[in-house]
């Protein structure tokens, strides 16, 4: 059997520490066109504490899914360091070992299961790769099926196309847990599910987190879901982190204008208090050619000339709460610089 992964640095040490993560994808501009790049992830720093759920939100093209794949090294980062529980990836921690400690659940429940393998084979594959004998791996797979709420005797020998979306996503969760990881990255894992099924899977995820002592990175475009599951939230915009902080504080007092706009864009559930004014105009800009300075300045209601030239860096606005906005940086040249700090 796979041995449990022991904790090294104690509860105070971050489970993951990411610095300067960067990935630019080349896009060919035709035979004669100049070489362009999509700045999918452009210098991202954050930490993940042991046992927490870190939500990552942002609109399409903001780089949240790329960040997930970079963490798993499914795509190779151009730059940046990932330190796992005090150990940098490299000599002391191989990729293979990192991947045992960190697993991922994808959005498309059908595409993420091999259609030619039975459910049991799919779950048992990972442990077998890590040297667990076939019979043991199958036993583990059946046990996990039970843990995710699928009767092993009914489901073990079925094929993915015979299951509903919710059931398949449960299988994907079981597969991710088969290597006994400490971190599970949930990349839009409930987004494709119907609301009533989504609630079932969310309940399951919360139970599993407690039972297995997991840490989640929960990526979603649905702010309501993120609020429900996360302890801290990280907001991305065009490949950069604009704000990171505790979820309740973020919801009651968003520091970055983009976070505020994102929250205000959520439909209300009150027929008498419909949204009357769209918080932002226009679409997110193209990440091939992001605006200079603060990337949000083209849509920001508080933008000033300085925002177009100075790139704000992520700095603490409150304990455990960082924001990248010139309004929150003292002496930045923005007319509201510093005032927001006092206000909050």
């Amino acid at each position: 059997m796979l041995e449990e992964i022991e904790d090294r640095g104690g509860p105070r040490q971050a489970l993951l520490d990411i610095k300067g993560l960067k990935k630019h994808f080349p896009v060919s501009g035709g035979m004669l066109g100049k070489k362009q790049v999509v700045r999918a992830v452009d210098g991202v720093d954050f930490g993940v504490a042991k046992g927490e759920t870190l939500g990552i939100v942002g609109e399409s093209g903001c780089g949240k899914s790329t960040t997930a794949r970079l963490l798993m090294h499914l795509i190779a980062p151009d730059a940046g360091s990932i330190v796992y529980d005090g150990t940098p990836i490299g000599r002391d921690l191989s990729l293979r070992e990192l991947r045992r400690r960190m697993q991922m659940v994808f959005q498309d429940s059908y595409a993420s299961l091999n259609p030619r393998l039975t459910i049991e084979d799919s779950i048992a594959f990972g442990p077998k790769v890590h040297g667990v004998p076939d019979a043991k791996a199958r036993e583990l797979a059946r046990d996990l099926l039970g843990r995710v709420g699928l009767k092993p005797e009914t489901f073990a020998n079925r094929y993915p196309h015979e299951l509903s979306g919710g059931q398949r996503q449960r299988v994907n969760i079981a597969r991710a847990l088969a290597l006994k990881p400490r971190i599970v990255i949930l990349d839009e894992a409930v987004s494709a599910l119907d609301k009533s099924v989504e609630a079932q899977v969310l309940n399951l995820l919360i139970d599993l987190k407690r039972d297995f002592g997991l840490t989640y990175i929960f990526i979603s475009h649905d702010l309501n879901v993120v609020r429900y599951v996360s302890d801290r939230v990280l907001v991305m915009y065009l490949g950069e982190v604009v704000e990171i902080g505790p979820v309740d504080e973020m919801w009651t007092n968003p520091r970055h204008p983009y976070t505020a706009a994102l929250l205000a864009s959520m439909p209300t559930l009150d027929p008498d208090r419909r949204t009357t004014q769209a918080p932002l105009a226009g679409d997110p800009p193209n990440p091939i050619d992001p605006p200079p300075g603060c990337r949000f300045h083209t849509r920001c209601p508080h933008a000033e000339p300085v925002c177009a030239s100075t790139r704000p860096s992520l700095a603490d606005a409150a304990p455990n709460h960082a924001v990248a906005c010139l309004m929150h940086a003292a002496n930045s040249g923005h007319s509201k610089a510093g005032t927001m700090l006092e206000a909050s």
């Binding site: 794949r69 798993m72 499914l74 990729l95 293979r96 070992e97 991947r99 045992r100 697993q103 991922m104 994808f106 498309d108 595409a111 993420s112 299961l113 091999n114 259609p115 030619r116 393998l117 799919s122 594959f125 990972g126 790769v129 890590h130 843990r147 995710v148 709420g149 699928l150 009767k151 009914t154 489901f155 020998n157 079925r158 094929y159 196309h161 015979e162 299951l163 509903s164 919710g166 059931q167 994907n172 597969r175 088969a178 290597l179 099924v197 079932q200 309940n203 399951l204 139970d207 039972d211």
Partner: protein, 295 residues
């Protein structure tokens, strides 16, 4: 832990669980066109294999007196050829060589082309460029011309035509294998397998092969008819089988002179080639739709 289990949606068929290929087989069996084709092909195959035990006339013994007899002649139900040899017997014996040089090259190319295509498709990058560009060189020639050129260079003979046809069919199969592999490779389950720490070889074996072999196999089946026709063409040009060996393409060639005397007789080998290629084509169509189980 109280987790609400979704009851599995009712599946009306109450029967033993079968695997993917079991389901495909059942669907194929239910398709009448495929089954008729399979029946005809099986008949042709079995008769070719068991030809010596069928009590047929000697396919090599001719007689100058009984040349080009029409259908229904006593002792020669399908008449005789230009040297007075029994047509029925030659057609059945001819199947042995014709089917061999029709199917064996495709099988060889299926094995080699799949390996090349899967390696190119899974790895991408320079491995892909190296393999696929080399293959493109062969692709640049029309297949008939390529087969003739290679056969001509290697010299006439059954073995050489098999080799030349194999070379002709590797590029198209490798191409299909590469494109299918590329699309499978981009699916999340391959990423999930990579994320579990499996090696490229394991992933190719467990996750890629199972998903690409089907489509490649279907494509290869459809090439058998082309192969039959090319092989017949090579024999027709004198680059394949040598007389007096019975082989459909060669027979078509030698009977050509009789076309004004008895056109029906002259067409018989062509009918056999036609029947086998159509049979394989329709069967591969049936297989394709049977394999598409995603409701």
């Amino acid at each position: 832990m109280a987790i609400a289990t979704e009851p599995l949606r009712e599946i009306a068929i109450v029967e033993k669980r079968r695997g993917y290929w079991g389901t495909v087989g059942r669907r194929l069996v239910r398709d009448p066109v495929s089954m008729i084709c399979a029946g005809i092909l099986l008949l042709i195959f079995l008769s070719a294999i068991f030809a010596p035990w069928l009590g047929l006339a000697d396919p090599f013994r001719g007689s100058m007196i009984t040349r080009l007899r029409p259908f229904g002649t006593e002792g020669h139900p399908l008449g005789t050829d230009e040297l007075g040899r029994d047509m029925l017997s030659r057609l059945i014996y001819g199947g042995r060589l014709s089917l061999l040089i029709g199917i064996l090259p495709v099988f060889n190319a299926f094995v080699i082309g799949t390996i090349l295509g899967v390696i190119a498709g899974y790895n991408g990058g320079w491995a892909n460029s190296a393999i696929m560009r080399t293959i493109d060189v062969f692709y640049a020639f029309p297949s008939v011309l390529l087969a003739i050129a290679i056969s001509g260079a290697l010299g006439a003979g059954v073995l050489n035509s098999i080799v030349s046809l194999t070379i002709v069919f590797i590029p198209p199969i490798a191409r299909v294998a590469e494109s299918v592999t590329t699309s499978v490779r981009n699916l999340d389950f391959v990423d999930a397998a990579r994320a579990s720490g499996a090696s490229a070889l394991t992933i190719m074996r467990v996750h890629v092969m199972g998903n690409v072999l089907g489509p490649i196999f279907v494509y290869a089946t459809s090439l058998i008819s082309v192969s039959m026709i090319l092989a017949a063409g090579l024999s027709f040009l004198g680059l394949g089988t040598r007389p007096p060996q019975p082989e459909w393409g060669l027979m078509l060639n030698t009977l050509r002179t009789a076309i004004y005397v008895d056109p029906w007789l002259a067409a018989l080998p062509g009918v056999m080639i036609f029947a086998v290629s159509i049979g394989f084509n329709l069967l591969s169509d049936g297989l394709r739709s049977a394999m598409d189980i995603r409701n």
